[in-house]
């Protein structure tokens, strides 16, 4: 009887999801409430978790409640600790959630909210959550080893090293693109710049307090830090309008780039407790808090979506980024649907804390569903703002012009009617001089968040406060990721270079430390600089590169899962990871191919490089470049981007080659050949943790 009621309830939930989905897909030409999207997503997530997640757990991976996890087998109270599943869920989610799920949907909104929303929901259920969950279980059954180690063990030394080099390059691109988001958000914005600079002394104060005055008291100093942050945001408004201090905190994009590069270097060599750790804590709490606030805000405000379901830019001619729906939509929405980087977390700290294998679906599959929900909220935030404002904010100046009148005229000519007054009034509302051409996702998202929070807590001038709160929230965790990423990249680089010059392997010595840090900062700094200075570059150049890289890493992780399934002799269930693998490989190689060889210079790297090379040899200036030096730079950066794309494609095809080899070998023998650690039974009292 009880089972019958539960079945009915699940059926009702599935029906609810289907109805909301149908409403989303079929209602055209009239505005629709954001709750339809949210309800459709949540209902489908729950049904997918209950049925598909559980199917993968029980049938495909055969998770075993009695098998000792690394947390029990190697319990040391520090890195390996059996942890309550809700606590671990929070940890895992905090580690995977970042800028990706927030920025990707904002950029994808240029095609309308529907394509992005569909891919977010379908992608997470069939690809992203599957990857996170399977890698978690695979790593957990191998002492919590990392993705690179797993590839090496299951496929061989060569693919392991190739995957490692690929991961390093992907990291560099991620750091560059994250830093680019910050540059785009802070350029010519004294208010934003002041608050972000203010986080440095605040973090140092917190660091000293936590290390020396009252060691380890995270909660009290985080509350103090949060209050100081809010004060800094409020004070930033005063600074921005001040006749001397306002201009003093106004910097161009290029100046901020150099400041970030210098900052990245210093932050990465300082002791972690002084700056990195305290800001990391603050940004983690702020991130989780803002995500909650946004979810509650959407439920209370129930905003209408003003962006159409589909725009004319589904044909690939959009101003925000170029390229058709296939494959570029699936590249642009990176992290909310499937993210290769999560495989690094699922094979990092999380498997070492897993108390029982049966918790893995909740943490791996469920955690990724939550991340996708964050991306859905970002899509909502981008779609509730006036589409005219959206396109004015996200189109490059080369296309729409530089003053409110010409931008409004261009955007209106696309059918998104907006007046110059609306553009200047929006800028004034959020306390900025201009909102034009601020591609990068963060400012658009901040306007959306500010509108939602402003509807709950209205008041004179609070819109500007919330806007800068949202900017700060993003800048804070992006800068933390840049610090931590540079540090991690430095270790990776020392490890890689140490194979050739053994002296560089010594991570504690100052010389190798400084060399490797400078190398790492120099690499991402170069991509950042070329993106900022190239008039046609920036986010629309780096983001596809990042998307391709991230989805390729996901492809590598899913190929590993497939190999492991075949080695476990679970051939009949291998489609679970093969289906998303094939789709990701098709998308990424198609995108990589188009980015390399498309004859349209605004899409293809080589076409663009050749166009500039020919123009330079013919001594023709291509506006808006001012001189041939700048054109030379555009040419070189396009060649480098083309080279990098080719390397990514080589990496993924190499891993594919070794995967097929490993699968054929596994199928030719009768027994299991995977490298799972031997089964150890949990003690009865250890089973229910």
């Amino acid at each position: 009887m009880k089972g019958g009621i539960a079945k009915l309830a699940w059926a009702a939930l599935a029906l609810l999801g289907a109805v909301c989905f149908a409403v989303l897909a079929l209602r055209r030409g009239e505005s629709i409430n954001a709750l339809w999207i949210v309800t459709a997503a949540v209902a489908i997530y729950l049904v997918a978790f209950r049925f598909y997640g559980r199917f993968i757990a029980s049938r495909v991976l055969e998770v075993d409640a009695t098998r000792a996890t690394p947390a029990f087998a190697h319990n040391d109270g520090l890195d390996f600790v059996p942890t309550n599943r809700h606590v671990l869920f929070g940890h895992h989610f905090a580690a995977i959630a970042g800028a990706g799920p927030l920025v990707g949907p904002v950029l994808a909104a240029q095609m309308g909210y529907l394509p992005g929303t569909l891919w977010l929901i379908v992608g997470v259920v069939l690809a992203g959550a599957v990857q996170d969950f399977m890698v978690l279980v695979i790593s957990s059954r191998r002492d919590g080893r990392s993705l690179g180690d797993l590839v090496r063990e299951e496929m061989g030394q060569a693919p392991g090293t190739i995957a490692l080099i690929g991961a390093f390059l992907i990291m560099i691109i991620i750091l560059a693109v994250l830093a680019m988001i910050v540059v785009k958000a802070l350029a010519e914005s004294p208010w934003g710049m002041f608050t972000v600079i203010a986080t440095i002394p605040i973090a140092i104060f917190m660091g000293i307090y936590m290390r020396l005055i009252r060691p380890g008291r995270i909660a009290e100093i985080s509350i103090v830090g949060f209050i100081l942050l809010l004060t800094a945001i409020w004070f930033g408004g005063e600074v921005a309008v001040h006749p001397t201090w306002g201009p003093a905190f106004t910097f161009s994009a290029t100046e901020i780039t150099w400041m970030l590069v210098g900052y990245g270097f210093i932050a990465a060599v300082l002791p972690v407790w002084l700056l990195l750790a305290p800001r990391d804590y603050l940004s983690t709490f702020l991130k989780i808090g803002t995500i909650f606030a946004l979810a509650i805000g959407i439920l209370i405000v129930m905003p209408e979506l003003r962006m159409p379901a589909l725009t004319q830019f589904t044909d690939g001619s959009g101003p925000v980024w170029k390229g058709g729906m296939f494959p570029f939509l699936f590249i642009t929405i990176a992290c909310g649907a499937v993210s290769g980087f999560h495989a690094l977390i699922s094979s990092g700290t999380t498997p070492k804390l897993l108390a029982n294998e049966t918790h893995a679906p909740y943490i791996g599959y469920g955690g990724m569903l939550m991340e996708s929900f964050v991306a859905i909220m970002a899509m909502v935030a981008a779609s509730i703002i006036d589409p005219g404002v959206y396109f004015a904010m996200n189109s490059p100046a080369a296309i729409v012009g530089t003053d409110a009148a010409s931008v409004a005229a261009t955007v209106s000519s696309w059918g998104f009617v907006v007046t110059p007054d609306i553009l200047t009034a929006t800028a004034a509302d959020i306390g900025e001089n201009s909102i034009l051409s601020r591609a990068g996702g963060a400012p658009t998202l901040a306007v959306g968040i500010a509108q939602i929070l402003h509807s709950i807590l209205p008041g004179e001038g609070t819109m500007a406060f919330w806007y800068h709160f949202a900017i700060l929230f993003e800048a804070l965790f992006i800068l933390t990721a840049v610090d931590a990423g540079t540090r991690a990249g430095r270790f990776m680089l020392q490890d890689l270079l140490g194979n050739f010059v053994p002296a560089l392997k010594r991570t504690e010595a100052w010389g190798p430390n400084l060399i490797a840090t400078a190398g790492c900062v120099g690499l991402w700094g170069w991509f950042l600089y070329q993106g900022v200075t190239d008039p046609l570059g920036g986010i629309n150049m780096l983001w596809p590169l990042f998307g391709i890289a991230n989805q390729m890493l996901a492809g590598i992780a899913l190929m590993l899962c497939t190999v492991v399934l075949f080695k476990m002799k679970r051939d009949r269930y291998a489609w679970v990871s093969i289906v998303p693998t094939v789709w990701l490989l098709i998308c990424t190689t198609a995108a990589g191919w188009i980015k390399l060889f498309d004859p349209n210079p605004s899409v293809g790297f080589l076409a663009q490089a050749n166009r500039y090379r020919n123009a330079i040899s013919a001594e023709e200036l291509i506006p808006p470049s001012m001189d041939f030096g700048a054109m030379q730079q555009v040419m070189i950066s396009n060649y480098v981007n083309a080279g990098l794309t080719a390397v990514f494609m080589f990496v993924v095809f190499a891993v594919l080659f070794y995967s097929i080899k490993a699968i054929r070998k596994a199928r030719s023998v009768g027994d299991r050949t995977d490298r799972e650690t031997a089964y150890v039974a949990l003690q009865p009292h250890e089973v229910n943790v």
Binding site: D76, G77, L88, L344, G485, F546
Partner: protein, 74 residues
């Protein structure tokens, strides 16, 4: 009587939830449960000295950003 029991039960429940929240927040910063670590040391390695919370915290803070584990997501 019943309501009293319920009230004390609620308080105990609230305490337990709060402890979990604190534990989660600390773990998000890379600091595992200290009491659990002390218990582990006493049970498994009675010969080792038990660090105070400050030492434990500093060691964990440094360990979080030591190579490899610093990868944060996009």
């Amino acid at each position: 009587m019943d309501t009293m029991l319920n009230a004390s039960g609620l308080v105990a429940n609230g305490r337990r939830v709060w402890r979990r929240v604190v534990e989660s927040a600390r773990l998000c910063c890379g600091v595992p449960d200290y009491d659990n670590y002390v218990r582990h040391l006493k049970e498994e390695h009675p010969e080792r000295p038990v660090p105070d919370y400050a030492t434990f915290f500093r060691e964990r803070q440094d360990a979080r950003y030591r190579g490899g584990s610093g990868t944060r997501c996009c």
